[in-house]
Amino acid sequence: MAEPAALRCAPAIPATPGLRLLPPAARFILRADGRALGIAGTALGIDSAPGACRASQGGTRAALWLGPDEYLLLAPQAEAPGLASTLEEALQGEPHSLVDVSQRQAALEISGSRAADILNSGCPLDLDSAAFPIGMCTRTVFAKAEIVLWRTAGDTFRLEVWRSFTDYVARYLGEVVREYGDSAK
């Protein structure tokens, strides 16, 4: 299916230290029972099935546990078509739903020693590394937007944001970063 032209443009975000728009990616929402999720993970080359609220990676691919019957699968954009057919093949005969949401979302990354504090200006979760360690992911809210939040490194978080909310989330984060920036003076 041809993409609408608008979706081929990356959303614009205001220049903000520590905040960047990640490259476009292949994204699938897979709904299935635990057994089928495991089969899909193996087919993708994911190292091990992710536990609750955890992401598992295999090379450039990742499976994010969003619920007992739901993964968000991420891979580099170019792999999207091949990935879909690989998964459909592996899941043949397994009841499941596989939806390509590559264009529904965009990914923001925020990093730096203040990253958790900055996110907490809109997200109520306890982001202390003891409560939200590296590799943890969850669907949550950031101000008025629903996001998927994934701590990819100690000071780095990936935010999967519905495309039309990207501008709002990025601007909100930009405002917060600016306010923290002022405070460093």
């Binding site: 203040r114 504090d117 900055i118 907490n120 200006s121 809109g122 997200c123 109520p124 979760l125 306890d126 202390d128 809210v141 101000a143 008025k144 405002e175 917060v176 306010e179 923290y180 002022d182 405070s183 460093a184």
Partner: protein, 409 residues
């Protein structure tokens, strides 16, 4: 506890004696302490360098209450109750940190640094957010020492303390200090035992070998008892001479005693033993970079005590500041902060172990003494005992202040 029961308990106290056991042990008295002492008077909560940057905050727990103290974007200090205006959830569990927006974990009601409700969903277009700001708490800075008052109308005599104390504190320039170390110690005793222990140095000689290297016990409410007549006189001479030297150098040093006032306090600059420089193991300064514009190291220690919950020592090189918060009838938090000049560097100008050694040891010793006192008072055999007229006057003053302010309408 109803007012009549409280009044009859207060009437049982014999002047010059320690308090009847229920004042230390009873959960009802504890609740009255939180409501009638900590809920009505100025309480010391911390120092400005704890929140030197916009957005930095710390929380204070008093009984079941929790207060957030935050540096606003305009650099003023604000305080509010740590209670969401939606359905009352505790907003913030962290003891300290920084925020731009405070988001309630329950339903994401979102507040700014002024405590204004700036965002909440699903409340309809007609919802008036301006009616649901966080409940503000009065906050004042006395030369960098932060006090809050939970009452609607705080005691006005804070201004008296400010006028008296600012000239004494200002030379130590707290605004240009940083917190080199902070420690929290939970003592297994009633908060008043922690305070009583602070208001006398009768126990110092036997229990505080590190502290008494630099500290003369005589500055802490010692009268000329027959046992120590000549030493107290000798100390009096030393104080007179040192005060003359310090006052000539522009440092107000004379004793101010207003412990009976509602915003009660006492202050005096006291000579230190041996080198006379600082409350360290060897009595020498612990930080090479001196506070403010000081050039002399031997400035003794300006001690400052406030009712009902703090004491502080200001030296040429560092400040030690203590606050006491009641957690439960038999549980008290002692928070200690060591301040040095903001440009002083750990490992270059000071060594944090050396800086903190004396008061860490002293706090541990006092913690054990408070627990011991609380244990003994918990025995049915406990009877209030007499304070020494020579060394425990200030303990009696504390208890008298406490009772009269507990009872005040």
């Amino acid at each position: 506890m109803n007012p009549a029961a409280l009044a009859s308990l207060i009437a049982r106290r014999q002047s010059g004696y320690s308090l009847p056991a229920p004042f230390y042990l009873s959960p009802e008295v504890f609740d009255a302490d939180c409501a009638r002492i900590f809920g009505r008077y100025w309480i010391f909560v911390g120092v400005e360098p704890e929140i030197s940057k916009a957005g930095q905050f710390f929380t204070v727990e008093i009984g079941s209450d929790s207060i957030v103290i935050v540096r606003d974007t305009d650099m003023s200090v604000r305080a509010f109750h740590n209670v969401c205006r939606h359905r009352g959830a505790r907003l913030c569990n962290a003891g300290s940190g920084a925020f731009v927006r405070l988001v309630c974990p329950y339903h994401q009601w979102t507040y700014n640094r002024r405590g204004e409700l700036v965002n909440n969903k699903h409340m309809g277009d007609d919802f008036d957010r301006s009616k649901f700001a966080l409940k503000a708490v009065h906050v004042e800075s006395l030369a960098g020492l932060l006090f809050i008052c939970l009452a609607d109308t705080p005691p006005e005599d804070f201004a008296v303390m400010r006028a008296a104390m600012e000239p004494h504190l200002a030379p130590h320039d707290i605004a240009n200090c940083k917190v080199a170390h902070q420690s929290d110690l939970v003592e297994q005793g009633n908060w008043k035992l922690t305070m009583e222990n602070n208001r006398e140095c009768y126990h110092c000689r036997a229990n505080h070998p590190q502290l008494t290297a630099s500290l003369y016990e005589y500055g802490f409410g010692f009268g000329a008892s027959p046992d120590a007549h000549s030493k107290v006189q000798e100390f009096g001479e030393l104080v007179k001479n040192e005060h003359a030297r310090w006052e000539a150098a522009g440092l107000p040093s004379a004793e101010i005693e207003r412990l009976d006032a509602t915003t009660g306090f006492r202050s005096v600059r006291l000579p230190l033993n041996q080198s006379g420089e600082s409350q360290t193991l060897d009595t020498r300064v612990a930080c090479r970079k001196l506070l403010g514009t000081f050039t002399q190291t031997n400035l003794g220690g300006l001690s400052f005590w406030t009712q009902p919950n703090s004491w502080h020592h200001f030296m040429s090189d560092h400040v030690v500041s203590f606050s006491v918060w009641p957690l439960a009838a038999g549980k008290t938090l002692l928070r200690t902060r060591w301040l040095v000049h903001k440009d002083a560097q750990q490992g270059v100008d000071f060594d944090v172990e050396r800086l903190t050694a004396v008061w860490k040891a002293t706090n541990d010793q006092d913690c054990a003494l408070v627990a011991r006192a609380h244990q003994g008072i918990s025995s049915p055999a406990y009877l209030p005992g007499p304070y020494s007229a020579y060394t425990e006057d200030l303990v009696d003053t504390f208890c008298t202040w406490y009772l009269s302010h507990l009872q005040a309408p």
